[in-house]
Amino acid sequence: ACGKKGDKVDENKTGTEEPTPEVTETPTTTETPDKTDTTALAGTVSITGSTSVEKILMDMISDFTAYNPDVKINYTGTGSSAGITDAMNGANDIGASSRNLKEEEKGLEQVIFAYDGIAVVLHPSNKIADLTIEQILKIYSGEITNWSELGGKDANIIVVSREGASGTRGAFEELTGLGDVGLVESATVVEGNGNVQATVAGNENAIGYVSFSFINEKVKAVTVDGIEATPENAKEGTYVLSRPFLLVYNKDTASPEASAFLEYVVSPDAQEFVEDHGGIRVD
């Protein structure tokens, strides 16, 4: 059930917007419970990287290993860039990324298993409900520093960003154009989606950005250019802050277990978990 993935990844296709089902043959052995076990997969697969994918990936792993009890899959959330770096060094079997690969990272194979939106979040008490990409850029680059400039109350904007390893940050900077201007020096930098969410939840004047799966009652997601931050809108492409979730790996060194898992993540069963956590299915 492996070895067919060489053709799955189009080397030239980056940042592809239309969710292309990567795997056409269905179903694989793993999701047909009535078939008696034909797989003899055994071994460990280590995944490191994006923290945004954690919730989705943990469910997928749990499900996959239930059917493949001899396979153990470890996931460590270290940030997308770290996962990609690890994959290039051979320090993991699979890297998880919440942004597209950069030019210098293109040597790796990739499997897109979900799309996700990046929600721009404010404290629930903040009156502001909509921001344009332009405004977001200006806030993050330090051109706008007070909420009153946006029609809010007179208070300094507390800009919260992610650590450098974050794929969410990478995607956010790319999609807003912040990458070219640079983050405002005084921005608060915290590690992890959780910390962004907590910091924004704890400060009326803060603004942050998180994966869709981190939207909850403690923080308020604004509409961007008037479009609500929902998976549907992101899928349609009207909500512009969206990016793929990918798994990256080395073609030459991928173990059968790793390959099987890479195949599994785009299967319908697995894709259900994507939906469960506010992501966008690829099929």
């Binding site: 419970p33 009535d34 239930a66 001899d70 460590t76 959780g194 910390n195």
Partner: protein, 381 residues
Amino acid sequence: MMKNNNTKLKDGILRGLIYLSATVTVAILVVIIGFIFYKGLPGVNLKFMTRMWDDETTVVDVSRNNNSNSHGETDYVESLGIHIALEDKNIVIKSIDSNSPVKDAVNMKKASYELKTGDVIGKAGNTNFKNITLEEAKKALDEGTETIRMKITRTGGGILPMLVSTIYIIGLTLVISAPIGICAAIYLNEYAKPGRMLNIIRFAIQNLAGIPSIVYGLFGMLVFVQTLKLSYSVLAGAFTLSIMLLPTIISTTEETLKEVPMTYRESSMGLGATKLQTISKIIIPSALPGILVAIILSIGRIVGESAALIWTAGTIAQIPKTLVGSEAAAATLTTKMYWLIKETADLEQASSIAVVLIVLVIALNMLSKLITRKFLKKRTS
């Protein structure tokens, strides 16, 4: 020369400041411990201490039984001998009959996997239990072939893996660093010739003890995890911590060796003992309590360490099965606590871990006191 009021006033002010400072110190402690226990204590219970961290999903096969003693209850699945319930949109096993076949369930490897109350049924046969009513679930479970295949999820939420991993890392680190550190201290104190060289070595060791643990983490990640390809593993963590602890172990041990009176060495040698005999029979036994305290202090540091471990042992909540490789990655209680705050902003659960940590620290403190006291008694009696 009479005391003037000025002095009395000054005395009073200073005395006030002293009391204030002591109060502040105690208040800080009370507030911190109070905060942690207030947030964390509700989450500490037996399940928290004994369960796995992650949910565990398993596919099992169960051979139904056919003794039909129909109750007709909506929540009773006759053929499996279990009561089920709908909790949070999940179908959960509420109770299991004593002769229920689910006790003989086997997983995909045909190994026995006994179901327990609290297990969540995710799928039975071809029916997905997502958004299902109790009736539908009962029906799906009652129907079908002789063996039914079910997907079972056993909920986690416990810190057992971190407890075990912490113990592993403590054990491994001490196995590496304690003998080397103690032997090195013996060499430096009993064998090495005093002089410039020894002073330089001591200086270097002393310095190393002050280096921030994050620098050790940086070193460990690059050398052990990446260059030596140990990956995030207990061994990489233990190596890193060993190097970090060596200086402390060496200098504390040297201190205690120095406290062993010179006359013990002299009399032993005077009785014709060799150096090694003197060391093993007199010096080490006399220094043992001090060495033990050094080791307990090291355990305390291992328990509390995070910066040097996150990037060497990883943050995976699992019971490590090997020393290196991906099955060896292991989060300790402290690293997991940090991870929780960073990824989930769940201060409550993090505090629950903190409660366990504080209790652990108190226990270690008491242990080292006990040893010192025993030692003092022996000395004075």
